[in-house]
């Protein structure tokens, strides 16, 4: 077999990719799914553990009602039916799984048959969104971190028993780009429900992709499941690579084997992990230590009321806020970015505080969203004040961006941050003095400007900036030039 083309340039030809995603997200509960241990990322290993999440002999699980609520929020946001559900045991041996079975939902998931609408208006079906417990985390020591040649392995059970919801899409996705849109939109929804923080980099949102290709109108092709996709970028690359691999295989007369494949970030390719024949027989059976969960209508209604506005609604609200300015394609992307990062509240506050909607959108989408974690906890009043300083010319655009990054870094009063940077706006009389000197030094150019040659405005602005070492505000200079021309 020849090596597939590099990711992104895979020859798809007449082949149609068929993609389904399985997304695991950790729920932001205070405690774990079946015990009272803290659900926290990054704590000292094996400090958030007890007999239950360590699976000690004799211990029993007790379901965390808050986790059920969060799962129902996700189901509600994904337009799922919320159903009476049952936990099963999924049996397989793995050192970081304390009981050597995982408590998971099987054929009776809490959420089923929903859908998710992407920003481009397409819809992806959601087969199910079920609850399960997370495993611990294994670190292989020595031998480059791979299990095969490691000297020994260390297991941290802090994550064991952390509540997860697994969202399984229908195979409705047709490209890597659409898969990215789906994952990003889903992340926005998860964050909006308050059920999960959707942090792929911390593993609180993990994506597996099922990929197959076929000739349009044919039956579904044989699929491969790709694991270890830790970012939206690897999701796109891995899917593109896998489509290319399968197409080349089929076009050269081969067949696709049903496999689980691993995305190798370093080599930027997928590699076979195990075949269908080697797949585990999980021997699912109903978990006898737990009872059925049947949320009644009242509970479902309470949960539905607690679910916030979804990204689609929030994008619509921003479009409305922008009025005529919100319709271009570039604006649509900016709006998507703002909502995806949960910054629409901040942006809306700025607009309500008197900042022009276009400026608020541009800054929030382009600069503020670079630090979404910090931006989400930013004081809206400070943010508004900063954007107003830019709007009224107290700060230049460049200066405003610098102050914004200071504000995101440390917080504080934007006016004071600007002063610390030496961005005190040039007093009006000193700008006057500078302008007097410039006009005296360049009488010819001034004459042409007064005579109507607008291009020279830029010439004088540049000189003013140079003379003031950038302290002059562009808008103030422009205003001065206009008023002097009369």
């Amino acid at each position: 077999m020849t090596a597939p083309s590099p990711a992104g340039s895979a020859p798809v030809g007449s082949w149609e990719p068929v993609i389904g995603l399985e997304v695991h997200c950790e729920l932001r509960t205070e405690t774990k799914l079946f015990c009272g241990c803290r659900n926290a990322f990054g704590d000292e290993p094996n400090t958030n553990v007890c007999p239950v999440c360590l699976g000690l002999p004799g211990s029993l699980p007790v379901l965390n009602v808050r986790a059920v609520e969060f799962a129902m929020r996700i189901g509600t946001a994904l337009h799922c039916e919320i159903r009476p559900s049952l936990f099963h045991r999924k049996n397989y041996f793995y050192p970081d799984m304390p009981k050597d079975y995982q408590i998971s939902q099987f054929d009776e998931p809490i959420n089923a048959n929903g859908w998710l609408e992407l920003p481009d208006g397409s819809r992806v079906g959601v087969e199910r969104a079920h609850m399960e417990e997370d495993t611990g985390k294994t670190t292989h020591v020595g031998g480059g971190g791979r299990i095969h040649d490691a000297r020994h392995s260390l297991v941290d059970y802090n994550r064991a028993g952390v509540p997860l919801v697994e969202i399984v899409s229908r195979p409705d996705i047709r490209s890597a780009t659409q898969a990215r849109l789906y994952a990003a939109e889903l992340r926005g929804i998860l964050i909006a429900t308050g059920a999960s923080d959707g942090r792929m980099e911390e593993g609180s949102m993990r994506v597996d992709a099922n990929v197959s290709v076929r000739q349009p109108a044919d039956e579904l092709g044989t699929r491969c499941e790709i694991k270890n996709l830790n970012s939206l970028r690897s999701l796109v690359r891995a899917i593109e690579y896998e489509i290319g691999r399968q197409v080349e295989l089929l076009e050269s007369g081969g067949t696709v084997m049903q496999q689980t494949r691993h995305w190798n970030e370093d080599e930027q390719k997928t590699g076979a992990l195990r075949s269908k024949e080697e797949a585990f027989d999980y021997r699912y059976f109903p978990e006898p230590d737990l009872v059925r969960v049947a949320p009644d209508a009242g509970w479902q209604a309470d949960v539905a009321a607690a679910v916030g506005d979804m990204p689609a609604d929030r994008r619509a609200a921003l479009v409305q806020l922008l009025g005529d300015e919100g319709t271009s394609e570039a604006r649509t992307d900016q709006i998507t970015t703002v909502v995806e990062h949960g910054l629409d509240v901040l942006m809306t506050a700025a607009v309500r505080g008197g900042v022009g909607a276009a400026l608020a959108l541009a800054r929030t989408a382009n600069e503020t969203s670079a630090e979404p974690e910090r931006a989400r906890v930013l004081d809206p009043a400070s943010y508004t004040a900063l954007l107003r300083m830019e709007q009224d010319g107290t700060l230049s655009a460049t200066q405003a961006k610098v102050v914004l990054s200071d504000l995101l870094e440390n917080g504080g009063d934007p006016a004071e941050l600007a002063r610390n940077r030496g961005y005190e706006a040039l007093a009006e009389d000193s700008l006057n003095q500078v302008m007097d000197e410039l006009i005296a030094d360049h009488p010819d150019e001034w004459g042409r400007y007064v005579g109507g040659d607008d291009k020279l405005a830029g010439f004088f602005t540049g000189l003013a900036m140079k003379a003031t070492q950038g302290k002059a505000n562009g808008k103030a200079v422009a205003a001065e030039l206009r008023s002097r021309r009369g």
Binding site: P51, G58, R283, L290, V291
Partner: protein, 487 residues
Amino acid sequence: MTTALELAEQVRNGSVSAAEVIDRHLAAIDESDGAVHAFLTVLHDDARRAASAIDDRIAARDDPGPLAGVPVAVKDNLCTRGVPTTCSSRILDGWCPPYDATVVERLRGAGAVVIGKTNLDEFAMGSSTENSAFGPTRNPYDADRVPGGSSGGSAAAVGAGLVPLALGSDTGGSIRQPAALCGVVGMKPTYGTVSRYGLIAFASSLDQVGPFSATVADAALLFDVIAGHDPLDSTSLDRPTPRSLENVGDGVTGLRVGLPVELVDGVAPEVAAQVRRAAEVLSAAGATVTECSIPELKYGLPAYYILAPAEASSNLSRYDGVRYGLRVDGEDVEAMMRATRAKGFGAEVKRRIMLGTYALSAGYYDAYYGQAQKVRTLIINAFTEAYRNADVLLGATTPTTAFALGAKVDDPMAMYLSDVCTVPSNLSGHPAISVPFGADGDGLPIGVQVLAPALCEPLIFQVATVLEAAAPVMSAPVLAAATWSGR
């Protein structure tokens, strides 16, 4: 033997100290348990400390509770904080639970003193206590015979008079069968009335902790202490704590007793004869006894031997050498797990893991596990139907009296048949008790079983009390301890 009720009363009124009670029983165990081998661990120091704390409370005019100073033996599949809990398996070698089972906590809360941990068939899988990694327990009535199982250590400890009370667990008869074989009272409560938190699981949907005692009233006393809702067990029923002791003497006048032929006809003639005599006793005491038939009961055993191993195969997965207990090194983690489990588990446990793994496997699930679940539903429905015409059911506890050590170890099917009369109550979740009722020609104890609908434990104790009062007097067991004094 002084009953638990009497002992607690004496300790509470100061006529005897808890320390004396405990010392006396420790001495009896030290002297007699070598022959019986009921205990795997005897807690000399812990028990003496606990007794002295109880005496301090008595001196301070505080009431330590209804089991003040009473020594209780605990089956070694119940977790005891800081004390080895082995399940009679090498695989748990060196493991000490960091917590007490809820039932153990309740014992301590009622003033009882945990005096030791008793022998069992490995992971409660067996009917003779011969499947213990630490050697078999002997039947107090004949040292060459089995005490039954899997709670053979607890049954023999009470039978020999080493302790007045013991806890066991019953998954398919593991309390009632050894109780019958050792001449003591043993009760399996309604599924969900006693917490399973800290009971090392064999088959989670069938396991239930219950009491052993020499008298019915003592069984009721212990049951009342251990029963009640536990938020740590999701299958625990949220109901008020039962007070069955108050009603043990209420008699059986007007009670409808069903006698299912399936629990009488298939058993040894001497056992069947005692069941019929027990029926006459109840009849004479004012109950109406009617023969009936519950044909579905015969499917109980096959269904049980699918469901219990299936759950066990999953419950026993965690013994992989990674976190606790035995570890046998291997080239990689998988080899380590294989070697650990190969060495750590005994033959019967391996047999059941394989049976259960098979029954749950892809392609076989519906034919085995699925079908067995349907049978389970049929049995529940059949009991419900039977209870339209009867308040309680009466039958044999076991098909035979105690068999010889080694007689069935090489014949698993014959061993499994020991549970034929007890398994249906585990599948239905209903309560049942075994009460000593006479002996066979060799002087070996016979037990009769009283079964009732869910949550009818008080009724069971009432019926058992009537039977107990009319039961033929037994001679002392050959392995009787100095603390044994008959009833």
